[in-house]
């Protein structure tokens, strides 16, 4: 007999992704682990525990369990407030140049709620904003190509021309109408 779910609607949080090339198309990739979020398929969390984690006890990863596990750090992460994403944007002085995407994400399945966000078993993007890369002001046509590829996810995609990831996050946090769908 299946357990009765607590809720029937997904919870929505905020995430940052890297935009990477996968098979010739731009795709979303998690920042911490190299999981590609494939269009039209939910991302199902797995615990990526590895032996080297035993050298980093503060990560508290426990191999061999379904994600998310309360005593671990696994699961698909999302923040409750978009402004909390600012921590994960490389500083302007960083030499790392990666195309980022900011997004709202639907979370469901087993969900662990924290004071600032969630860890969930399943996730899928609900809305995507594409800023300019922080240091590299690529041509708008390149952003349009990325947006066209990301449209494969079947959710609203917004090009934030001339805005860095930090500026996109700040505008979303301020509820700027410019960012509305």
């Amino acid at each position: 007999m299946r357990p009765v779910p607590d809720y029937l609607e997904p919870v929505h949080g905020w995430r940052l992704w890297s935009v990477v090339d996968a098979g010739g198309r731009s795709r979303l990739q998690s920042l911490v682990c190299p999981s590609i979020w494939w269009p039209r398929h939910e991302l199902v969390a797995t615990c990526e525990a590895s032996p080297r984690d035993s050298l980093r006890p503060w990560r508290r990863r426990m191999p061999g369990h379904a994600a998310p596990e309360s005593r671990c750090t696994c699961g698909v992460h999302a923040m409750e407030r978009v402004r909390h994403l600012g921590t994960y944007v490389p500083p302007a002085a960083s030499r790392l140049v990666v195309q980022r995407a900011v997004g709202r994400v639907a979370l469901w399945g087993e969900v662990i709620e924290g004071s600032r966000g969630w860890r969930a078993a399943c996730a899928y993007p609900a809305e995507i904003w594409i800023p300019h890369a922080d240091l590299r002001r690529q041509p708008v046509s390149e952003l349009e190509d990325i947006a066209l590829d990301l449209a494969d996810y079947g959710v609203p995609v917004h090009i934030c021309d001339g805005m860095t990831a930090r500026e996109v996050i700040a505008a979303l946090a301020a509820g700027s109408p410019r960012m509305a769908a």
Binding site: P3, P5, D6, Y7, L8, E9, P10, V11, R15, V32, R40, H41, E42, S70, H77, A78, M79, H84, T87, Y88, A106, L107, W108, G109, E110, V111, I112, E113, G114, S115, R116, G117, W118, R119, A120, Y124, A126, Y153, G154, V155
Partner: protein, 46 residues
Amino acid sequence: MDIGKPLRIYTIEPVEDPVPRPQRTPREEPAPPPAPRKEPDPAPTP
């Protein structure tokens, strides 16, 4: 990402699929076989 202090655990089973699945092209359904012809009732014999 640091989601902060764990507060509670719950299960969400969405009624509507949060994933916009690829639309399948509807297959052409084969035409149903023709209904068997009903033989006329034999005329009653006097």
